[in-house]
């Protein structure tokens, strides 16, 4: 095990963490401001990826594809909010879980109806493909490095948005006291639609960015959705800071656990069964992490009251 490999794996963990943050930011905002638990957030991730693949197919431009993913996911999100979600704010979590579960069914099968059952093609643009050499002799894929940078930039932008802008103030006020900001004359339903569309756009962007190095297919959002939930629960629901901390923690744990657990097991087992046993434990690791954190801090790292 060389230190270069370890560093490279840390970068990989960072990249996964940054992607999870894009997903988790929207989820946690929507929960923080509207008190809504949205299982269909993964569908918006899928919408972004499909929109990007379709536009890249027509125009050949990756940049246009990214813009399309933002636009399509934001539009789908706004539509979802206007038609369904806004009827759920006053309901209990149970109704929210069920209604958004129903939305997953509609979005998944609807996408399959539109685009067919086979995965779509979306590739890394040529000027971003291939590896770059980093200081210390690490060869790292340029595209993944770009994802890390885009993700960190968006995280910074989001923090600025919330700390410095008018909308940010309204969002924070909404988190603190929902009735109050309505009383202050803020157009609350517009704010809600905006926040929901913003979260959706981030999820769509994540889907498009990841779609270029993974496969664009129906159901791609669900595994990410579950990870994103783990992230916001670890971080404390409603907290953007918590979402970032949780995302990086989950990204690192999942990546490093998957690499090092089998090697750890190989110290006292034969290689084949160590590979298998290590992989089994690694796949459960983030859930164990989440359970452990909730036992110590029942409302997550940065959570106030749930």
């Amino acid at each position: 095990m060389t230190y270069i490999l370890v560093l490279e794996q840390i970068l990989n963990g960072l990249q996964l963490g940054v992607m999870l943050f894009l997903m988790a930011a929207g989820l946690t905002l929507v929960f923080g401001v509207m008190g809504l638990i949205n299982l269909a957030h993964g569908s918006l991730y899928m919408v972004g990826a499909f929109a990007a693949a379709a536009v890249a197919g027509w125009t050949g431009s990756f940049l246009l594809a990214l813009i399309a993913s933002l636009a399509a996911a934001a539009a789908a999100g706004a539509l979802m909010e206007l038609v369904v979600i806004r009827r759920l704010y006053q309901r209990d979590h149970l109704d929210q879980v069920l209604a958004t579960f129903a939305l997953i069914l509609i979005f998944s099968e609807g996408t399959r109806w539109l685009f067919g059952s086979f995965p779509l093609f979306l590739d890394v643009p040529s000027h971003l493909s291939g590896p770059v050499s980093l200081p210390g002799g690490i060869e790292y894929p340029l595209y993944r490095l770009t994802i890390i940078l885009i993700g960190l930039a968006i995280a910074a932008g989001l923090f600025l948005l919330i700390a410095r802008t008018r909308i940010g103030i309204q969002i924070r006020a909404g988190e603190a006291d929902r009735e109050m900001i309505a009383a202050l004359g803020v157009d609350i339903s517009k704010l809600y639609t905006l926040v929901f569309a913003l979260g959706a756009a981030l999820a769509g962007l994540a889907g498009a960015l990841v779609g270029a190095i993974q496969s664009v297919q129906v159901g791609m959002g669900e595994p990410v959705l579950i990870l994103a939930f783990v992230v916001i629960v670890i971080g404390g629901i409603g907290s953007i800071k918590g979402a970032l901390a949780g995302a990086l923690l989950v990204g690192m744990t999942d990546t490093l656990g998957g690499v090092f657990l089998p090697q750890l097991f190989a110290v006292f087992m034969d290689p084949a069964s160590a590979a298998s046993a290590g992989a089994s434990l690694a796949s459960m690791l983030i859930y164990i992490l989440m359970a452990a954190i909730l036992l110590v801090r029942p409302s997550g790292l940065y959570g106030g009251s749930a």
Binding site: L5, P131, P141, T255
Partner: protein
């Protein structure tokens, strides 16, 4: 669940024969919705093409969607056997669904012909006289890849597969034939989409080649990320990650990859040429491996029906075992455990115009049977 009933036209059959022929009912349980529906659609389309081309009277096919859920598949099978009274079942894509359906179906006296899955238990200890596999035993393509690695002079392979039974069978199959060293052996998470960590390990391992079994979306993700990583070791895989349906989604990243398959569209025989052009004409796309397996399965059934009725079980079984039909793979015969004994080829991914496809470059294993036949006592 969708039901399609298909009654073939009577026109082509002489009146006498038609009168003598009893109705044969075939139940097809396959995956037509949700993730993985593409494979089921291809098997169905290949199968129905053969049935339509044949056009005989008295063959009815009932098709139902299993949604890739074992419990749904079991219930459809129960219904087809109990209510619809089918003679023959076929269609299942996934090993876990086959394990759930096949033993109970054959125990109830129905024939089952597998157009895709070939779990080792059904080839060995749990084999059954009424179970025939028309595709391959699960290990076969991996064994051929191991044999090809030896021939190509690869001496230090890095191998990976998902951590589930078919993944373990895959690596076992590869190692059974492969004679070189292993630079590493990794089991990934089922459904995993990011392979950065594994690729970093491959880079650090000093391997001279990579063998992977990652079906469906997992393989697409792996190949795209591998192509972007700057690691340029030769890659070998089974056909599943390089087949017609999936190849367009992988794109350039797959070009030049060697993969093993018992079928390709350029196998030179009349049946195959006719199949490829008829399939393209009817469905407007190139046939996949799965479509070829569905097509062969239907033609095998029809060839056996020429000799015996399905209700005459012993005669029908003997007719299936004889396998006297024009397979699109060329030579085809069954071993003692009702699994194929066949050639397995090595293909290379190429680009024809705008379409990614495969061409055969070598034969991996000739007249290859599976490793479990000895355990089958029937």
């Amino acid at each position: 669940m969708k039901t399609i009933r298909m009654l073939a036209m009577a026109a082509a059959i002489p009146a006498l024969a038609a009168a003598a022929q009893a109705e044969t009912k075939i139940g097809m349980i396959t995956t037509l919705s949700g993730g993985g529906a593409g494979l089921g659609v291809d098997v169905r389309d290949g199968f129905m093409l053969a049935i339509e081309q044949d056009g005989r009277d008295g063959v009815e096919v009932v098709i139902e969607d299993d949604q890739r859920k074992p419990d749904a598949a079991v219930q459809i099978a129960d219904r087809m056997i109990q209510s619809e009274k089918v003679d023959i079942l076929t269609g299942i894509i996934w090993s876990n669904l086959a394990m759930a359906v096949v033993p109970a179906a054959t125990a109830q006296g129905v024939f089952y012909l597998s157009p895709n899955a070939g779990p080792s238990a059904l080839a060995g200890k749990r084999c059954h006289p009424n179970y025939f596999n028309v595709a391959w035993q699960n290990d076969n393509l991996h064994e051929a890849a191991g044999a090809y690695a030896n021939e190509a002079g690869l001496k230090n392979s890095f191998i990976l597969a998902p951590n589930y039974p078919a993944g373990k069978d895959a690596l076992t199959g590869y190692k059974r034939m492969y004679g070189g060293e292993l630079a590493g052996e990794i089991y990934t998470k089922l459904g995993q989409t990011d392979y950065a960590a594994e690729i970093a390990q491959i880079r650090a391992s000093g391997a001279d080649s990579v063998y992977f079994f990652l079906p469906g979306g997992m393989g697409i993700s792996f190949l795209k990320q591998y192509a972007g990583s700057g690691v340029d070791l030769p890659v070998v895989g089974p056909a599943f990650s390089f087949d017609q349906g999936i190849l367009q989604a992988v794109g350039e990243a797959a070009l030049g990859v060697k993969n093993t398959s018992q079928w390709n569209k350029d196998i030179d025989n009349a049946a195959n040429a006719a199949f490829v052009s008829a399939f393209q004409e009817k469905y407007g796309r190139l046939p996949s491996l799965y479509a070829s397996q569905g097509y062969d399965t239907a033609n095998l059934i029809l060839s056996a029906l020429d000799k015996a009725e399905a209700s005459d079980q012993d005669a029908f079984r003997a007719a299936l075992q004889a396998a006297e039909f024009d397979s699109v793979r060329g030579d085809f015969k069954f071993g003692s455990n009702h699994h194929p004994v066949q050639d397995i080829y090595v293909r290379e991914v190429i680009k024809e115009g705008d379409v990614f496809t495969n061409k055969i470059i070598a034969t991996g294993l000739s007249d290859h049977a599976d490793a479990y036949a000895g355990e089958c006592k029937m």
